[in-house]
């Protein structure tokens, strides 16, 4: 009794740590401490659980914890900052599969001990398994898309759509509902249970394949939310408050991030999930753009930068691909040494996960007070002499403002075309991830510096130093 009380009390304290930790994660000055406090809560909850009287042997537990710590620790310490979206996607998936397995394990045990499973237990077991399974396979597909894997010549990262996809998905949802109801009526049917695991895995795959790579910030936030909800459902299986509290807080935070990402693209969640945006059919109706792009040499670009009083850098996914963050920071320092005011303007959905660019620039030692959000840069952008667009495309496409027929019409963008001069660092004239032509490249005040972003930045640095 006494031990049980202490365990419950530890859980209350863990919950306190999680709440405080999440709150402190909301401000750059306290975030690191907040993360540590939340980790302390987790360690405490884990240790307290080990004192539970129901635990009979520790062999398996220690083996699993040891292995998980080694693999997780090594992965976390070795992962490149540019691969952070993939890492977060995988971790979401692992959280999901853990909750699925908890549901499964509890099911086998309940069937063993009592021959009849209560309807409530059957319902929450199904929920944990469904959400967990869907999180796992959804995350794995998201990971594959972020890694830009391909099966032979078949690329996974674009939005993959096929005829009758909607009908198929609706049928799948109906089947899942039907089978789940069947299971709650007759929870002893093991085969029905396994069938549900399979269906949940299929649902995760079907949900994520029609979503294009550029929409991954939304998907990752949503999967993050699911991994929390799966833990929450697992909490209902074992009647444990700390799982419910922690899981639902994560669920809620994931939903908020998802809605922030959707707002930043001016699209509904429904549109992101089901429209197959960015598949080839959307890009088909490219209109012809008048005018010609103005290429510029690194040397001429240097003259422009050298005489500028203020420069704003607008990074995008191309910066991550080219691993150009360090070179860009160095270029920024050259400019500052030259007396130029340098800032970095970040679009909320630039990159492949929420805050992707901020992490990369932080890795390159760019101080976070130099990073400016879209809503703060737009009102003053006309006063900026040179805007350097590095690897960004759709988030600076003026069509979003001007062309009602454009698929991205209405999406808030950084109005770089209003600046005095725009220099676009780009490998070629190819279209962005949304498959849309960008009239910015043909404007009179735009210059194109072709080449790999990292190489171009290094050329410019050499000009400054030489």
């Amino acid at each position: 009794m006494n031990a049980a009380f202490l365990i419950q009390f530890s859980y209350i304290f863990s919950g306190f740590c999680f709440i405080l930790g999440l709150k402190m994660l909301g401000s750059p000055a306290t975030a690191r401490k907040g993360n540590i406090i939340s980790a302390v809560g987790m360690v405490l909850a884990t240790i307290a659980t080990l004192f539970n009287n129901d635990i009979d042997q520790y062999k398996w537990i220690f083996a699993a914890v040891l292995l998980g710590t080694i693999v997780g620790g090594a992965a976390a310490l070795m992962v490149e900052m540019t691969s952070m979206p993939e890492m977060v996607a995988l971790l979401n998936g692992f959280g999901g599969v853990a909750s699925l397995l908890v549901g499964w394990a509890e099911y086998t045990q309940k069937i063993q001990i009592t021959n009849s499973i209560k309807t409530f237990d059957a319902v929450v077991i199904i929920l944990a398994v469904l959400i967990g399974g869907l999180t796992l396979t959804g995350s794995l597909i998201a990971w594959a898309k972020l890694k830009d894997l391909s099966l032979g010549s078949f690329k996974i990262s674009p939005a993959l759509t096929f005829k009758g996809q909607k009908t198929f998905n609706i049928l799948l949802l109906f089947t899942i509902t039907f089978v789940a109801l069947w299971f709650t009526k007759d929870p002893d049917l093991k085969n029905v249970f396994y069938f549900i695991i399979g269906l949940s895995a299929l649902l995760g795959i079907m949900t994520v394949i029609p979503i294009g790579g550029a929409d991954m910030p939304v998907v990752i936030s949503l999967l993050n939310s699911y991994s929390g909800l799966a833990a929450c459902a697992a909490g209902f299986i074992i009647n444990n408050t700390i799982l419910i509290v922690a899981g639902s807080m994560v669920g809620a935070s994931g939903i908020i991030l998802t809605s922030i990402m959707c707002k930043a693209m001016n699209r509904s969640l429904n549109n992101v999930l089901f429209s197959g945006f960015g598949s080839t059919s959307v890009g088909g109706k490219n209109k012809d753009v008048d005018g010609e792009a103005n290429p510029i040499s690194a040397q001429d670009c240097y003259y422009l930068l050298e005489s500028a009083n203020s420069v704003a850098v607008v990074p995008g996914y191309g910066l991550a691909v080219a691993q150009a963050q360090h070179a860009v920071r160095e270029l920024g320092e050259c400019l500052e040494a030259n007396g130029t005011e340098v800032s970095y303007a970040i679009h909320p959905v630039a990159g492949r996960m929420p805050g992707h660019m901020n992490v990369l620039l932080a890795e390159a030692d760019v101080p976070y007070d130099q990073l400016i959000e879209m809503d703060d840069i737009n009102p003053v952008i006309e006063s900026i002499d040179v805007v350097l667009v590095i690897g960004a495309n759709d988030v600076v496409n003026p069509d979003a403002r001007e062309d009602e027929d454009s698929p991205i019409y209405g999406m808030p963008i950084i109005n770089v075309d209003h600046a005095k001069t725009v220099i676009v660092l780009k490998r070629s004239m190819s279209v962005g991830f949304a498959g849309i032509q960008n009239p910015l490249f043909f404007k009179e005040n735009t210059r194109m510096l072709f080449g790999d972003a990292k190489g171009s930045a290094n050329d410019l640095i050499a000009e400054f130093k030489g």
């Binding site: 863990s14 398996w60 997780g72 976390a76 959280g95 853990a98 419910i244 935070s253 932080a362």
Partner: protein, 99 residues
């Protein structure tokens, strides 16, 4: 049945708390917030430990599934917190004086 009512009440309060805590986070912190929150969702380890610790002779299936769950949950927790810490360690304010 009472305990379920209580748990659902807890659920409702926590969801509101989650919304309140997160709604005003600057976009600079979105990635660490996400990975930090993800680490918290590894709390499912508590359930996993209880399954992995049952008497082996009684039900090996439960133990093995539980141990697998412990492995993945630990991966989630350890990986999540470490990676978040690594990112947050890089976020610095500008220091004008030294250099």
């Amino acid at each position: 049945m009472d305990i379920f009512i209580l748990l659902i009440f807890v659920l409702m309060l926590s969801i509101f708390l989650g919304f309140e805590l997160i709604s005003k986070v600057p976009s600079t912190l979105h990635t660490p917030l996400m990975s930090g929150a993800n680490a918290i969702s590894g709390i499912t380890i508590v359930g996993a430990l209880l399954s992995a610790g049952v008497h082996y002779g009684d039900n090996e299936e439960t133990v093995i599934l539980g141990a697998l769950a412990v492995f993945f949950a630990t991966l989630n927790v350890v990986g999540g917190y470490l990676v978040t810490n690594r990112m947050l360690a890089m976020f610095k304010k500008k220091e004008k004086d030294n250099k």
